[in-house]
Symmetry: C2
Subunit: 338 residues, 2 copies
DNA sequence: TTTTAGCACTCTTTTTACTTGATTGCTAAT
DNA sequence: ATTAGCAATCAAGTAAAAAGAGTGCTAAAA
């Protein structure tokens, strides 16, 4: 265990480094609250913290930088999650009060708000398809060979897609299809829309394959589609660590690989807010970054997951404070919706 | 006017510079076809071309680089638009033959194909809303206070949106609304969905404002929404000019400002393919880049506009060749759709 | 025993000077 | 009109030197 002064030194170094991105010297943090002693004393503490693995030295004559272990300790033990100003509270409230028509919009609004306040990049993704159940399916005839399929899920999400046929269809057929699909699928998980269902409908129920096949194919596609939303990709370029072109390129590549991100955000979590610091990320490409994931919900209705990507020296306190506030806000505002 | 050898020298320099991104020396282009003379002779021609404003020198002991005027002359007079290989033709054909469900998809497929072949970034945008007419409007009840509105336009586009109400609505009301909106709007430009219409429906036709207002608001929003699609944002980072962080940051900022791009692509064009070289771009932010816009269509059905963003030394010949081929292909393949 | 002042030592960063190499522009010969 | 030859120019690369920041250790003070 760390004694109180060591904790204070570690905290000061992490916070200073988050602010400046420069290795922190003993001079820089002396005389901070709780550290009213000489730089020599602090140097001694720093040397010990380094020996214990919480700090690192880029080279002999530089200051100290937190190690992954150091950040981890900071996040787990030292972090204060009320680092949010009145202005920020006002800003978030305003944003969340915008009139919302689709639940997906909440995720996007939350996502962009977080990006704006923290100045990091955010990625958001809807609730994963395996947990969603079908509440209602509708088909609408649009023109002689085209109809629209709409799925309403129990999480309040609406997924729609256009389906084209190679032959003309009638309003009557559409009605029958609506009725039949509803009957068959209401209450089932959306992943039920799949090949076996197609087979069943064609072979057992004797529906025309020309009709069923395009429907299943297209609906399956839309159901599986992860709609990934990115916010503030340019923000990270303001950070000094992005002065290395190496890192910058790396980052742009990460953003381009959407599956990677979707993967990240869908990994099973113990808690609603999870922090992955540098090397803790499973993916090699992410080891220079930290990621905080935030599964947000109203009541027990899963709305999706938001991921914040920033440098390892991300302002964890700010990020987590904002998330907690949004979470609270969502659940107060919308209590009546439950 | 430039004499033949000057044209040849200018062309050689532009093409060499496009290939290498290094200032071109007199040595590098001598002995190319049509330039069988000494480097001294070429130096004389280069000096003259510089005096006329077609070339520039980064510094005394460097080779020459084309000026904006040089590129412009090259694009207008020297460019050959059949610079497309058999492999590329095959690749494009394959891509365009994918089964397509929505017209919007064509634009995206064309856009990504162009990006893949040229290695530049592309931005695409659907047809501008002022030219589209309403072919059909449908409303579908989703749940007691929620319905979906679907607009089918004459360009084959489908725009849909979710509309929420503060009070319960019945299947009957939805039917009436469907009928009425269709009656009123069929054949009208989609921009007709606007405040005045709301006013008319509420005040003259005596519809409930609680019903009409959310509909108009939401439909107006979805109609005005420009869906911008980006492809290959990371490709530009392979180019040597992106080794300057300055330029890289600038580029990421451009990508983030979607309105800027939409603006660019919607600016009135004389021709279907337009080239804007560096400073010719109206927006300050774009002066280090060149942009080629491509308005593509099937018959006279406007499908949208694709913009290619690349460095000033973009391979104009390749880009324009690909566009012309796609344009031809679209109109042959889909002739029967007309 | 803990804290602190003092100072030599280390290593990066910045500065300066020097060398190399590519390319031009000019002159004079072809 | 073309070309060979060569001095002049300037970026880019290399090496050495100086400056600066921060530590770690020692010995004295609290």
């Amino acid at each position: 265990m760390l004694d109180d002064r060591k904790k204070r030194v570690l905290q000061a170094i992490v916070e200073e480094y988050i602010k400046t991105a420069e290795p922190v010297s003993s001079n820089a943090i002396m005389n901070l609250e709780g550290l009213e002693c000489s730089s020599a004393t602090i140097r001694n503490e720093m040397a010990e913290l380094e020996k214990m693995g919480y700090l690192e030295k880029p080279h002999t004559s530089a200051g100290r930088v937190p190690s992954a272990k150091g950040y981890r300790y900071y996040v787990d033990e030292l972090l204060q999650t009320d680092k949010i100003t009145l202005d920020e509270i006002k800003y978030i409230s305003d944003k969340l009060e915008t009139k919302i028509n689709e639940l997906e919009e909440i995720t996007q609004i939350a996502s962009s708000t977080i990006s704006e306040i923290t100045h990091y990049t955010t990625v958001s993704i809807g609730p994963s398809s395996d947990i969603q159940k079908i509440e209602n399916i509708k088909f609408v005839l649009l023109s002689s060979r085209m109809m629209m399929g709409v799925i309403l899920t129990d999480t309040g999400l609406v997924k729609e897609t256009i389906i084209k046929f190679d032959e003309d269809i009638t309003e009557n057929q559409v009605q029958t299809l609506s009725y039949m699909f509803n009957n068959k699928l209401k209450g089932e998980p959306i992943t039920k829309i799949d090949k076996p269902l197609e087979k069943y409908l064609v072979e057992e129920m004797r529906y025309s394959v020309n009709l069923i096949k395009p429907i299943i194919e297209q609906m399956k596609k839309v159901v599986e589609e992860e709609s990934i939303h990115l916010e503030g990709a340019n923000r990270l370029f303001e950070l000094p660590e992005f002065n290395s072109l190496e890192v910058a390129k790396n980052f742009v590549n990460i953003l381009d690989e959407k599956e990677l991100m979707a993967d990240m955000l869908n990994t099973g979590f113990a808690k609603d807010i999870n922090v992955y610091i540098g090397e803790e990320n499973e993916k090699e490409e992410l080891k220079d970054f930290s990621i905080v994931t935030f599964k947000h919900r109203i009541g027990n209705k899963d709305l999706g997951t938001i991921g914040i990507i920033g440098p390892k020296r991300m302002d964890y306190a700010k990020v987590i404070s904002v998330m907690k506030y949004i979470s609270k806000k969502l659940n107060n505002e919308n209590k009546d919706e439950e």
